[in-house]
Symmetry: C3
């Protein structure tokens, strides 16, 4: 029954959400429709990712999901930079990284772990991911420590930021070549691929990719409409800009990653779920953030890569715990709970700043 | 001969130590009798833990040992909180954590490693322990960094501490469910269990548990009497409160863990030794410390969870090195020496503060 | 052809470099001859290390290479301490540690990885190295944190430094006993040893060791002559003392390790390359630096072990990323690239201080 009504409801809720947004029906109504619409769009997205993963491997499926998901964040950030709101951009980048590493990965491991005792994935990939995440925090920490402890002029701070940004993009391109071309086989997920041999995907390869794009764009639009309604709520509940940027926006803005990863984990495809969560945060640290430095230059502005101490601390502990948990190439419900607990501790601390 | 005299000497030295304590025979005499008495009581404790481990598995044996051992610390800390001596409480918690991770684990690995070339234990458990220890330092670091770098009011600091404390207790209960119920088999120590099949324990299961409780209570009492004599010595040698709290009290107060863990390691039951050392420090970070926050509220006082920078540094490096060494599920004499060396470095640094 | 001319050219370039240095032919000429001479001497060094590694195992070969390489650094540092230039000594020690962990290890992994898909080495050794490196940073961080956050007198700072230095030397001697005697077999590199069975070394065992010593001494001399010409260049290009000490001097001063490690990696003997790079930086942190504290006392001076915040940050991130990458006992070209990228990020940051 629900299966039959899925596509009609997907379209209807999307249209209602769009109408309520553009015709300003009021924050409460917009919030309700967007909330409903995103549920269905996320469902489509999960199915499409799974189908693509069947044809192209879990790595490519996860990578595509993460990329389309981050495209939305990139677009929102560009608008914020144009307005000169650098601090909110950095807060939302921080929120996206820790949201993916703790909330998305944690919820996936917990949801999947309640159904399966232990969920394995490629431990080669987990090790490489850990080293890359390490590079991400090093690239954010080193300039920050130098700028905070030595007397470095604003001009030199910007120069360091530009050089480090260029280096990170160079590293990320190298990672794509490495993981998609030269060492593709070593990082693939044999465990899960075999397990899913029995199932037949609903769509052809081309159709799957098309639907993946469509679903991601839908989720991206709806999540942006949702973010717009948050102003009303945040002023009503007295939330700080930092908290809204790093937690509320990040949670809603990552809806695409959340839903797809959890659905995949519940189907015992933890490899793809990890790829979405970790891959997405890697992409933000090594690609989106550096690109935004250059975007700021295009607008004649200067956004450096120096994050605040508490943002760095939040990113640092997220990478530490996510690395420690995923390094052995397996997750359980308790490890998911641990990640979520760290997310709550960070949320509580940010709330009181 | 010595074997025959063991029980009589155990009882005699305990009674002499008790008499000297309650009748105030002078610090030197009390110290001497307590020192003798703790040797025999610790011997009984080691045997009882080993016997319980035979029936219930090394995990349960180690857990019971750690729990009874920390019960003494909890009781002492409650008295200190009642007096408002929060700083000494935190120093002794710090000392207990680093003492277990460095001194107990290090001495066990060294003592066992001098007899056996390499001692293996469940590496699944080692990985989980590492992630939990990571949670422990994150829970202590994050609020501290926020409070030290941002302007957070005392009231909010206390609120953050209470929430984080509640979360940690919630995490610890989850860990017990996970390690004792849902994933018990995965974390058990097959290597050592097989090795000890040949031996026959001296007592029945019930008797073993009874003796474990009795021995722990004896050790706990004697170690408290020992701590009382330390005032005299510390003022005579000019030691600071911080050093006495973090090192002298912790060494004596952890006598139960020390003796049992070392004896087990020398019988090639490194799994149980690790469980005692790491399990005990996890229990302090994730259960004892948070419970004390709530205890302070019961007394109408407010002890927060914000440790000093050097306490955090000490806990942080202890977790780092203990994690690095135990992660592969094996220890050698040199790794034990490394842990002891870090303990000495911390001791020297604390001594000069 | 080139093979036949190798030894004559080695001798001619060495003599020309020596002449230009002692007869002051001018910085540019000295630089050119020394640059040529070091190429040939490094070539001999690589061959000799490889030959020694064939007879005595890759560990011993790597250890000897690292030791002779660091002997030069030790000698240069002693002269600097005599002049009271403590800050330059510490900058060059920092540079040697990060240079070995990032530049030498990174270049080796990249060069070897472009030829071989994955290069394996003993993962036991990698784990032990990681724990030892951890001890190294702990020994540098703990006193620094205590001195920087608490009020510790200069006298006590020196006392802490002396005790920690003594402990580190004690730890390093333990490591030699452990890795060369008691656990030699466990840390040996079976993978690579088998792979090289087919080849026949050019020299006998005694001849190989003699040539290793000769080649290292040649490289050490030439690199010192090179360092002397750098003053001219650094003042011409406006480089700071810190940058020259930590990067330029370290790169040139580590020429012995660089060349040998890269040549070995390209012959798929990654185990020996890792031993040179990681072993050399361990030796500096656990042996050379502590010895220099005592050397300073011999000259009636007091050099403590307290490094600056940015030096500690640089060492810390280098150990983190090198540990993360080498822990699994295998390297690829991308991991080499990652290490080099972190080196460049540190170089850029130091350049702008």
């Amino acid at each position: 029954m629900l299966k039959k009504l899925f596509y009609p409801l997907l379209i209807i809720t999307f249209i209602l959400s769009a109408l309520s947004h553009f015709m300003h029906w009021g924050a409460e109504v917009e919030f309700a429709f967007a909330g409903l619409a995103i549920l269905f769009a996320a469902g489509l997205l999960g199915k499409a990712t799974e189908s693509v993963a069947h044809y192209a491997g879990q790595r490519i499926g996860g990578f595509l999901n993460a990329t389309f998901g981050n495209a939305a964040e990139l677009i929102i950030a560009i608008f914020l930079i144009k307005e000169g709101l650098f601090e909110i951009v950095k807060a939302s980048l921080t929120g996206a990284i820790i949201g993916n590493l703790l909330l998305v990965l944690g919820a996936s491991a917990l949801a999947g772990g309640l159904k399966y005792k232990e969920q394995k994935f490629n431990d080669h990939l987990a090790g490489q991911n850990a080293s890359l995440m390490m590079l991400g925090i090093i690239a954010l920490f080193v300039p920050a420590i130098f700028v905070k402890t030595e007397h470095i002029s604003d001009e030199n701070t910007m120069t360091i930021s530009i050089i480090v940004a260029a280096i990170l993009i160079f590293a990320y391109i190298g990672w794509l070549v490495y993981s998609m071309v030269t060492h593709k086989d070593m990082l693939e997920d044999h465990v899960d691929t075999q397990a899913s041999h029995g199932e037949k995907p609903a769509w052809t390869k081309g159709m799957s990719i098309l639907l993946l794009v469509v679903a991601t764009v839908m989720v991206a639009f709806i999540s942006e409409w949702l973010v717009h309604t948050l102003d009303t709520f945040s002023s009503r509940f007295g939330l700080s800009d930092l908290f809204v940027g790093a937690f509320v926006v990040a949670i809603v803005g990552n809806a695409a990653e959340h839903s797809a990863a959890i659905l995949l984990a519940m189907k015992n495809k933890m490899g793809a779920a990890v790829e979405i969560a970790v891959g997405s945060s890697l992409q933000i640290a090594l690609f989106v953030a550096p690109v935004l430095v250059f975007v700021s230059l295009l607008f004649g502005k200067e956004m450096d890569l120096i994050f605040t101490t508490i943002e760095l601390a939040a990113i640092g502990v997220s990478v530490l715990i996510a690395t420690s948990i995923s390094r052995d190439g397996a997750t359980t419900w308790f490890e998911g709970k641990l990640l979520l607990i760290v997310y709550v501790i960070l949320g509580v601390s940010f709330y009181f700043v």
